[in-house]
C-alpha cells in the first residue's frame, strides 16, 4: 500500500497544507483563540457592569451601624465610590415602614438594595437583603467577609478572647490539594494541570474537527471536479486515500507539536518559574504520548472524514451528512471537559478506554491523575484496534463512493457498498 505513488500523493498533500496561508494562520490563531475564550469566560463571569451600586445599610443599634461603617470605609470598592452606602439605625417596626416609603426608589433603581442587620443576627448570623434584584451573588461575595468580621467582633467583644483567637475563628477553611503518584514525591496540586487537561481536550477536539472538515472538503472537491478519475488512472484508491491521510495527519501532528512547544519548554526548563498555584505536573513522556495519541486519532478520523466526503458530491450535503462523526468527537469532548469535577468517576474511566472516546478522554484524564499503566495499555490497544477495523471500512466506502455520481445515497445504500466488489 505504501509506495512511490502514495509518497507522491503524500508529498503534494504536505506541500499544499504546510505552505498554505490557512495552516500558518491557524497555527498562530488557535492558541490565541483558546486563551481568548478562557479570558472571555472569566471576564463574563466576573462582569458586574459599571453601574454604581447605592446601598442602604440598616441596623438596630447605633454602635453596630458605626462599626459596619468604619469596616466598610476601608474597603476598596467603597473608597472608589463603586458602591456607596447610606447608614441608618432603626428598629424593626420603623424599618418596615421605611421599606414601604422607599419602595418606589428601590423599583426605580435609585436604591440598588437595602441590607438589614437585625439584632438576631448576633445569634443566627442571618441578615436580610431587599432589592429588585435580590440574587446579586457578586455583591454578596464582596460583602460577606467584612460583614462577618463586624458580627464576629461584636459577638466576641465581651467574651474575653485574645486577638489571635479571634483571627483564627475568622479564618476560612481551605483545602490544599496534593497529588499522590507512584513515581514522584507527593506534590502540591495547583490549577496548572486543570488548565493542561482543558488544553488537551480543546486542542484535540478543535484539531480533529478542523482537519477533518478540511479533509472532507478536499475529497468532495476531487470528486466534484472529476480529478479523481484522472488520479485513479495512475494510482489505486487505497494509495490515494493513504497518501492523503498520512500527509494530512503529519501536518496535523506537526501543528500540534508547535502548540506543545511552549508547554515542553515550561516543564523541561526552569527559565519560566510558574507561580505555585499554576505549577504543572507533566512529564515529557506524557506530551509525547499525547502527540502519538493524536496521530492515531487523526488517521482514524481522517479515514472516516474522507469516506464521508466520498459519499457526497457537494459541500452542503457533506456538511449535513457528517453528524455521526461530529457526535463521536463531541460526546467524548464534553465528558473530558466535565471531568475536572472528578477525573476518576466511572464514566470517565470507561470513556478513556472506549473506542473513539479514549482518543479524546485519555489525554485529558492522564494530565489530571496518574492513570494506572494497564488502563493506558488498554487505551492504546483499543485505539489501534479501532484504527485497524475502521480504516478498511472507510477505505471501502471511499473507494465505492468516490466514483459514484447521481443522487445522494441513503445510509442504507452506503452499508450495501461494503459488499460491493471494487
Amino acid at each position: 500500500m505504501f509506495n512511490k505513488r502514495t509518497l507522491a500523493v503524500m508529498k503534494r498533500e504536505l506541500k499544499n497544507r504546510l505552505l498554505s496561508r490557512t495552516f500558518i494562520l491557524m497555527t498562530l490563531l488557535i492558541p490565541l483563540f483558546i486563551f481568548g475564550i478562557l479570558a472571555f469566560q472569566t471576564y463574563v463571569m466576573t462582569y458586574e457592569g459599571n453601574e454604581k451600586t447605592n446601598l442602604v445599610l440598616v441596623t438596630e443599634q447605633k454602635s453596630l451601624t458605626e462599626k459596619v461603617n468604619s469596616e466598610f470605609d476601608s474597603l476598596s470598592f467603597v473608597k472608589t465610590g463603586q458602591i456607596s452606602v447610606l447608614y441608618k439605625t432603626m428598629d424593626s417596626i420603623s424599618f418596615s415602614r421605611y421599606l414601604d416609603e422607599n419602595k418606589k426608589s428601590i423599583l426605580e433603581d435609585q436604591i440598588s438594595g437595602v441590607i438589614y442587620i437585625p439584632n438576631n443576627s448576633l445569634i443566627n448570623k442571618k441578615i436580610e437583603y431587599y432589592s429588585k434584584n435580590p440574587k446579586n451573588n457578586l455583591l454578596f461575595e464582596k460583602l460577606k467577609a467584612p460583614l462577618n468580621n463586624v458580627l464576629l467582633q461584636v459577638y466576641f467583644a465581651n467574651k474575653k478572647l485574645t486577638a489571635d483567637e479571634i483571627s483564627y475563628v475568622r479564618e476560612k477553611l481551605d483545602f490544599n490539594e496534593f497529588r499522590v503518584s507512584t513515581d514522584k514525591k507527593i506534590e502540591e496540586e495547583g490549577m496548572g494541570n486543570t488548565i493542561v487537561s482543558f488544553l488537551f481536550s480543546f486542542l484535540l477536539y478543535f484539531s480533529l474537527i478542523f482537519t477533518g472538515t478540511m479533509m472532507m472538503r478536499a475529497v468532495v472537491e476531487e470528486k466534484n471536479n472529476k480529478i479523481v478519475e484522472v488520479l485513479l488512472s495512475s494510482v489505486n484508491s487505497n494509495e490515494l486515500m493513504t497518501g492523503k491521510i498520512i500527509g494530512t495527519s503529519i501536518t496535523g501532528v506537526l501543528q500540534m507539536a508547535i502548540w506543545m512547544l511552549p508547554l515542553m519548554v515550561v516543564i523541561s526548563t526552569s527559565y519560566f518559574a510558574l507561580p505555585p498555584e499554576y505549577s504543572i505536573t507533566l512529564s515529557m513522556g506524557q506530551i509525547l504520548y499525547f502527540l502519538f495519541n493524536f496521530f492515531i486519532a487523526l488517521i482514524t478520523f481522517m479515514g472516516m472524514f474522507a469516506s464521508v466526503g466520498a459519499i457526497f458530491d457537494n459541500d452542503q450535503d457533506a456538511q449535513s451528512g457528517v453528524w455521526p462523526l461530529m457526535i463521536i468527537i463531541m460526546i467524548p469532548f464534553f465528558i473530558a471537559m466535565g471531568m475536572q469535577g472528578n477525573p476518576d468517576n466511572n464514566l470517565v474511566k470507561v470513556g478513556s478506554m472506549f473506542p473513539f472516546a479514549s482518543l479524546i478522554i485519555m489525554p485529558a484524564r492522564m494530565s489530571l491523575i496518574d492513570v494506572p499503566l494497564w488502563q493506558m495499555l488498554i487505551s492504546i490497544i483499543v485505539n489501534i484496534a479501532t484504527l485497524l477495523i475502521i480504516f478498511p471500512i472507510s477505505g471501502k466506502i471511499y473507494r465505492v463512493g468516490i466514483l459514484m455520481t447521481g443522487k445522494k445515497p441513503k445510509w442504507g445504500e452506503v452499508v450495501k457498498w461494503l459488499k460491493y466488489k471494487y
Binding site: 471536479n225 478519475e229 488512472s233 495512475s234 466514483l403
Partner: protein, 309 residues
C-alpha cells in the same frame, strides 16, 4: 498480433448491467475506436481496462498477462469528465501527474516545456489553473495525459468542448503519436472523427459489442450491400430482382440494398442491359454513421446525436 485482449468483461451496478460480456482485441500499432452512444458502456469498459473498477467477471490481457499497475504506468488516460486541481499551478500540475506515473527529473521537465510551447501555454506555466480559460485547461489536461510518454493512450471523447483550431491541433498530435507507434484507444460517439482516425473499431450498444474489426473490413462488408445510384429513370423494377432487398427512391438518387451474397457487379450489369443512363454508381460510400445505424437498428435517435459533428 494483439496487444490488448478484452475478454468477457461484465460489470453490474445494482440491477443495471452496464457492461455485458464484452470482448474485443486491440492490434499493435493501431488507433482503436470504441464507439457507442452516451451510456452505452464505453466509460465503464475503459474504467475496467484502467483497473479503476474491478470487473464482476472477465479480464483484460496485456501481451499475455493480466493488466495491473504496469498498464496504468504505461497508459495515459484522458477521461471524458475532466478535472484538475483549480488552485494548483500549471507547472506543478504537470510534474505531479508525471510523478504519479513514476516519472520525475530533468527529462520530464524538458518535455513539459516542449509541450507547453507546442500548445502555446509556455508563458502560463506559473499561473493557477483556475486562471486559465476552459480550452487552455483542456490543453493542460491533455499534456498531463501524454507527458510521461505512455505507450497506450486512452482518450474518452477527447474533442468535446474544443474549438475547431484546437480540435485540429489535437488530431495532428494524435496522428503524430500514432506514427511514433503508440497505441491509441479512442472512445467517441462522433462517427465522423472515428471514421477519419481509427483503423479498428468496436461498436458498443447497451453494454454489448455489436460490431468489431478493422474499419476497412467492416466497410467492405457493409458497402457490398448498399449502393447509391444517380439516374433519372424509375428503378422500382429492381425490386423483382433476386439479389435486391429494397429500393429507396430519393428523387435523383436511389439507394439500393442488396441481399446477402448479392454482388454490386451483377446489379450494374442488369442496369446496363435495361439501357439505364447512370450518372453515378457508388458501392463503397457507406459511412460509419450509417453502419452504426444499421448495426444498432435504431435510426432516428442516432441521427440527432451524430448529425451535429
Amino acid at each position: 498480433m494483439y496487444v490488448l485482449e478484452v475478454k468477457e468483461l461484465t460489470k453490474s451496478f445494482g440491477k443495471i448491467k452496464a457492461v455485458d460480456h464484452i470482448s474485443f482485441t486491440v492490434p499493435e500499432g493501431s488507433v482503436f475506436g470504441l464507439i457507442g452512444r452516451n451510456g452505452a458502456g464505453k466509460t465503464t469498459t475503459i474504467r475496467m481496462m484502467m483497473n479503476i473498477y474491478l470487473p464482476d467477471s472477465g479480464e483484460v490481457i496485456l501481451r499475455g498477462t493480466k493488466i495491473g499497475q504496469e498498464f496504468k504506468d504505461k497508459a495515459g488516460y484522458l477521461p471524458e469528465e475532466r478535472g484538475l486541481y483549480k488552485k494548483m499551478k500549471v507547472w506543478d500540475t504537470l510534474l505531479y501527474f508525471a510523478e504519479l506515473k513514476g516519472k520525475t527529473g530533468r527529462e520530464i521537465e524538458k518535455k513539459a516545456n516542449y509541450y507547453l510551447k507546442k500548445f502555446e501555454l509556455f508563458d502560463r506555466k506559473n499561473s493557477k489553473l483556475e486562471d486559465l480559460s476552459k480550452g487552455n485547461q483542456q490543453k493542460i489536461q491533455f499534456i498531463t495525459t501524454i507527458l510521461h510518454d505512455p505507450e497506450f493512450l486512452i482518450l474518452d471523447e477527447p474533442f468535446s468542448g474544443l474549438d475547431p483550431i484546437n480540435t485540429d491541433l489535437l488530431k495532428e498530435i494524435i496522428l503524430e503519436l500514432k506514427s511514433q507507434g503508440k497505441i491509441i484507444i479512442l472512445c467517441t460517439h462522433l462517427m465522423d472523427f472515428a471514421e477519419r482516425l481509427c483503423d479498428h473499431i468496436a461498436l458498443i450498444e447497451k453494454g454489448k459489442i455489436i460490431l468489431h474489426g478493422s474499419l476497412s473490413e467492416i466497410k467492405t462488408r457493409f458497402a457490398k450491400k448498399n449502393i447509391l445510384i444517380s439516374c433519372e429513370e424509375d428503378l422500382m423494377f429492381l425490386k423483382d430482382l433476386g439479389i435486391v432487398d429494397s429500393v429507396m427512391d430519393n428523387g435523383n438518387e436511389k439507394s439500393i440494398k442488396l441481399k446477402n451474397g448479392g454482388e454490386p457487379q451483377e446489379l450494374l450489369r442488369q442496369l446496363i442491359q435495361k439501357n439505364i443512363i447512370i450518372k453515378k454508381f457508388a458501392a463503397d460510400e457507406i459511412s460509419l454513421h450509417e453502419i452504426f445505424i444499421e448495426a444498432t437498428g435504431e435510426d432516428k435517435r442516432l441521427n440527432t446525436e451524430g448529425a451535429n459533428v
